[in-house]
Amino acid sequence: MNSRILNIAQKYLKILFVVFGVLILLRGHNYPGGGFIGGLLASLAYVFQGLLKGADKQASKSVSNGLYLGLGLSLILLSVLPGFFMGNAMQGIWWDFSVGGWDLKVGSPFLFDVGVFCVVIGVSQLFFYSLSRY
């Protein structure tokens, strides 16, 4: 596809997709959202890029999707481990911070969400690039 408008728009849309995906990911703790849906949104950025520049070129250029998958799976595994050692397996373990008046709650479920986010990006890239080869 060779459209100049889309080509320029894509640069900004890409950022928009990723930022929106991350927002949905962060929102997912207490409201609708989360890793899966956020990951799908963020992976739209790559899909868009692939549509414009040709999936074959994109596949060779982009970060290996195996890396995303491995990273995501490792994060998921990491999120299970604190529960495994500190109590019930897969139990959410929470750490409370307050940074400059902001109350931050970081816990192992968040790690899990980020893992899912990465896996979804990796998998949908893999799907898109391998199917568009045919």
Binding site: G66, L69, G70, L73, S74, L77, V80, G83, F84, F85, G87, N88, A89, M90, Q91, G92
Partner: protein, 502 residues
């Protein structure tokens, strides 16, 4: 720290590691290490279960009907033990039979995810979670069966995939209806509801859907067509693994569901299941006798012997259930072993076709010994495992007056013997039909023979240790038919809570 989740965590760790590893030199030893650790873990769990009888983990600390429960009871423990033994020996076997292209397309990652799914299916106590593990098994097996991408493999893979997908959809629909009627998917809770509530006979629609789903997975008679169409296409390592693990997960699920909470209308289910069992045994055995390709013979055998396991469920006395499960673990070991041997025969003779094989007794006596152990075990000769398994089953059948079923079981035993002897005669005993000198001097390496030796020893131990195993399995069977311990262990304080939908 709770050990119950370890059979899931350990393969997951190795799965993650193998996403990054693509070369054989690091991959194979690491895989063997991983499966070795898993086998040690399952031995430890089995040892624990001998004393504790049942171990329960409420995942994430959510109490039973609300969260997912992992349960290792006596059935799960023994299934874990055997399936991890098989996975370990297949991993050793894979050193020389899996080429570097397969490792580069992440053979070991999918191997670990398959075992992850199998372990998960054995220890979960939640019906929907079982569906998820089934899908984990299914997706990794799709990839494994088409790995290599020859035309035959793609074709076999399509058949395998299509029918198994249908099975999953039936399972899912059954779960939906079950949830609609009872408001829970926790197996222990379901068992409790079914035993308290007189209207629970309404579960029959779900039961039929479950039967079709598990029947497809277990390759029962009218639903078995995917198995012989696909099992002879992939790499022999994959076939051996599938023959040992996949169909048995379906049988395990049948045993679990039909003892725990599908307990109404036994007359109908008895008649139906006994017919299915008879046809499964006969069709598998008869079809195996007309083929001359080793892997096809063995694939039809897988089907025929599923019938025996189903027979244990039909009889439904403690002895019957014990015999069914005993037959299942014996069959997993011996059947995997025969597939491993068929790969070795191919390596020496260059073909799976029994018309062209021969002369192995003279050139490779060790291989002949390794073959005769699982062959006799499958045919049911003492002192190997098959004799005691069949004896228990047939005894329970006669005691409970299932004469037709039992007679067919005895007849099918002869068919099994016929096929095993056919392979023995054509591949080992007779002289090689054509002078293929180049092949017969192929030396088999120790790592190719070792897995068969391990599984052969497994068959012998299972046979010689029959008193121990029958005691263990009988106690297990009693606990399965009267699952009060199971319910109590899972539901705990909420024992009196029965939450039916208004």
């Amino acid at each position: 720290m709770n050990i119950v989740i370890a059979p899931i965590l350990l393969p997951l760790v190795f799965l993650v590691v193998f996403v990054f590893i693509k070369n054989t030199r690091v991959g194979s030893p690491l895989a063997i290490l991983g499966f070795g650790l898993q086998f040690i873990l399952s031995v430890y769990l089995f040892y624990q279960i001998l004393n504790l009888k049942i171990m329960v983990l409420q995942v994430g600390g959510w109490q039973a009907p609300f969260g997912i429960t992992l349960v290792i009871d006596q059935l799960s423990a023994v299934m874990l033990l055997v399936s991890n033994l098989i996975a370990f020996s297949v991993a050793v076997y894979s050193i020389s039979f899996v080429d570097k292209y397969m490792v580069a397309s992440r053979f070991y990652a999918f191997f670990f995810s398959l075992v992850l799914g199998v372990n998960g299916a054995f220890i979960t106590g939640d019906a929907f979670n079982l569906y998820v593990w089934f899908e984990v098994i299914l997706l990794s097996s799709f990839v494994l069966i088409t790995m290599g991408r020859s035309k035959d493999q793609l074709e076999g893979g399509i058949k395998y995939m299509t029918l198994n997908l249908m099975g999953s959809l039936f399972f899912l629909a059954g779960l939906g209806l079950l949830y609609g009627k009872t408001g829970t998917l926790n197996m222990a809770h379901l068992a409790q509801i079914v035993r308290v509530n007189p209207e629970a006979g309404l579960l029959n629609s779900s039961a039929v859907l479950f039967f079709i789903a598990f029947g497809i997975k277990a390759a029962l008679f009218p639903l078995h067509f995917w198995l012989p169409a696909s099992y002879h296409t992939p790499n022999v390592t994959v076939t051996a693994l599938f023959a040992g693990l996949l169909t048995k997960v379906g049988v395990y699920a049948l045993f679990r569901f039909f003892t725990l909470f599908i307990i109404h209308d036994r007359e109908f289910w008895f008649l139906f299941l006994s017919l299915i069992a008879v046809f499964t045994m006969l069709v598998g055995g008869l079809a195996a006798s007309i083929f001359y390709e080793m892997r096809r013979i063995l694939s039809y055998h897988v089907i025929s012997q599923i019938g025996y396991m189903l027979m244990g469920l039909v009889v439904f006395t403690p002895l019957g259930i014990a015999g069914g499960v005993y037959f299942m673990i014996h069959n997993m070991i011996a059947k995997t072993n025969t597939f491993l041997i068929s790969g070795l025969v191919k390596k020496v003779n260059g073909t799976y076709d029994l018309h062209q094989t021969g002369g192995l007794l003279k050139s490779h006596p060790v291989l002949a010994v390794l073959y005769i152990i699982p062959a006799l075990a499958l045919a049911g000769f003492p002192p190997f495992s098959g004799f005691f398994a069949k004896f228990t089953l047939i005894k329970s059948g006669y005691e409970d007056a299932h004469y037709w079923l039992t007679s067919v079981a005895v007849l099918t035993s002869l068919l099994t013997l016929y096929s095993m002897i056919k392979i023995w005669n054509k591949a080992f005993l007779r002289e090689a039909p054509s002078p293929n000198e180049g092949f017969s001097c192929v030396k088999l390496k120790i790592d190719e023979l070792l897995p068969s030796a391990i599984l052969g020893i497994g068959s012998i131990v299972l046979g010689l240790g029959a008193p121990f195993f029958i005691d263990y399995l009988s106690e297990m069977a009693v606990n399965m038919i009267h699952p009060h311990n199971y319910i109590q262990a899972v539901m705990g304080d909420l024992e009196n809570l029965t939450l039916l939908k208004p």
